[in-house]
Structures are given as structure tokens and as C-alpha cells.
Amino acid sequence: CTSIIAQDPEGHLYHGRNLDTGLFLGWDAKNHTWKVAEKLRPLTVQLDWKKNGTTLFRSINFAGYVGVLTAVKKDKFTFSLDKRFALNGGYMGLLEWILFNDYKQSWVAFLTREVMEEAANYDEAQAKLSKTRLLAPVYFILGGIKPYQGCVITRDRDNFNMLSLDSKSIDSKLWFLVQTNYDHWKTPPFFDDRRTPATKCLNQAGQKNASLGLIYNVLSTKPVLNKETVYTSLMEATSGQLQGWIRSCPDPCWPW
């Protein structure tokens, strides 16, 4: 997956993501596709979650999946989730849940659903996503409505690391964040470096061109767009806008 948050010179925040999945789960050698990604495309839907007759939040979901991976709550925040690989990942949490009945931890996508339903603002969402004990490691990407309200929360099961748009000193604040399934303090591996092209394309365009259109173009740059990409979505918290598009990556294209 790749998630991007960008801020224009006026302080408007834009959030986009590619959802990539299906790696190692069946390569179709004839059509050059991942079988699972191919089957998830027709299951991709936009959901309007209604409460008391009005839209509480919007999400891009896979039909039949009750958690939330990509969503926007109008006038509050935008949210996306990227997978974080770890050798002692969800496995340990799942075993504790099953063998020791340890229910004092949250399933990742169920926690995010709760956050979308209950969090009243960016700060509340950030606190809950940072501090709740989880079954599995994950990256949460959160955008708000005020300037510099953008962060990547790197989670293991108990601890967190936060990279925010305003993490750096006052004169070197960031105008975008890119998350590509690797910890931001490490260099991504050469065989899966989507961070470098995404970062260079954003820098090439410059902050003055920050927009949903720019994010879509960056998310369409190979290998940011790859054979695993199921959908691209764009979000803006201020307007509550959320749109999702089914993606395919014509050859030549990276498998991940």
C-alpha cells in the first residue's frame, strides 16, 4: 500500500492511498495478475455509513468486510491503514486471543471502525489509534482539517512512533508524508522501493501544486502503482469528499 498526505501553501490537506494486496496468493501467469487482487476489484465499494438519517462517515471497503481501511469523516479527519509486516505480527496476538482468552486488545480494522464511528476530531482519533493495545502491528495515516494536521502512526502491539507534518523544526516543516509499508526511519529495501519515486515526484511538482490531482498522479506512477494495486482513493476532510477508482497496471508493470 501507499498512503500520501499533502498540504498546499494555504494549509489545505489532501489524502490519497493505493490499496495493494494479494502478494504471493496466486500469480496468474497468463494474465500477469495476482488472483486475489483480481477478485477483490469487483468487491470494492464506497460505503456511506448512516446514523440518524445522516452520513456519519464514508469509507472504501471490500464487500463483506466490517472493518475500515480507508475513510473520511467530514469536518473531522481522513484515515488510511497500511499493512506493517513483522515476524511476530498478528500471529502472537491471535494466539493470545485464542489460547489465553486475552481479549484486552483490539483487532486492527475493528478499532478503526470504532474510531470512525466515535472520534469527534483529529486529536481524539490520533490518541485512540496511538494508545490502544493491538493484536497486530500496523501503520495508521491520519489527516485533519487544520494546517499540519497530518501524521503517520507506526504501531507495534503496545507502542507507537509518530511522524507528523510538524515533526521537524519550525523552519523545516514537511508539506507531505509518504507511507509505503516500511518504517520511516529505515531505508526501504531495493526490491520494493515505492517511497523514492513517490517522494521525488511530489518534490518535483512542489507544494504549490499540492492537490488531489497531484496525489492521484503520484499514486499512478509505477511502481507506486503495481500489479497488487486494487484501488486508488482520494480524500479531503474539509469537504468530506471521498472517491475510489478500481486500478489495473498494464504491462510493463512491477508485480509489487
Partner: protein, 119 residues
């Protein structure tokens, strides 16, 4: 992939936006005022058959990747996992199973996929 121009080839895309209207994903509503068992009925009536196809395939693929022992351990524990999920997730999954015609164990597997396979 031999036609890729070198292993580190990439070029910033500048004309992909706006995407085609035909690629937009369809919109559905989930009414949180309905009982959890009922919330997913409209979506499942439309997407249920495609969901069954996916989950059947995923089940086979997972089996081939993790092997018999781990796969059987996961499958045999799914009913316990399902019933221990917090409200309203178990109830919603029962609704999805009912309206899609898929076994609850497979609906559960699909919904805990992230935790089960981050390894």
C-alpha cells in the same frame, strides 16, 4: 517483466488525473440504526456471489501457502474467534453469512485476514 527498462526505472506520471468515470467504485449505504444482523443485507444481495468466489479461492491459496497443520489450526479456531469478537462485529458477520449464503467460519476468516496473515 523483462520489458521493464532496468530494475530501477520509473517516471513521474503527470496525466493520469482525472481518472475515467467508469472506474469509479459503486456506492452503497450501511444503516447503523438497523440491528447489526440487517445492516449488510442490501450489499450482500448484490455482492454475495462474488464474495463466495473470492473466499473459496483465498481458502485454497492460504492452504497451499501455510500448509495443512497451520491451516487446520486456524480453521478449527474460527468459531471461537467469531463468538469472542466485540459487539457488533460478530452479529454483523452472522448477518453477512446469512445474506451471502457463506459459512460463518469463512466470513470470520475474511474479516480477520489482516491479523492472521501479517506474518
Amino acid at each position: 517483466f523483462s520489458v521493464l527498462v532496468g530494475p530501477f526505472y520509473w517516471k513521474c506520471e503527470k496525466t493520469a488525473y482525472p481518472p475515467a468515470e467508469s472506474d469509479l467504485v459503486p456506492t452503497f449505504e450501511v444503516d447503523l440504526d438497523l440491528p447489526p444482523l440487517q445492516r449488510w443485507a442490501p450489499l450482500m444481495r448484490v455482492k454475495g456471489p462474488k464474495l463466495i468466489t473470492l473466499v473459496d479461492d483465498v481458502k485454497e491459496l492460504i492452504h497451499s501457502v501455510v500448509g495443512e497443520k497451520i491451516f487446520n489450526t486456524i480453521m478449527s479456531n474460527l468459531p471461537k474467534v467469531a463468538t469472542s469478537l466485540p459487539y457488533p462485529f460478530y452479529e454483523e458477520m452472522v448477518g453477512i453469512a446469512t445474506f451471502s449464503g457463506m459459512p460463518l467460519s469463512l466470513v470470520t476468516l475474511y474479516n480477520i485476514f489482516y491479523e492472521a496473515f501479517t506474518l
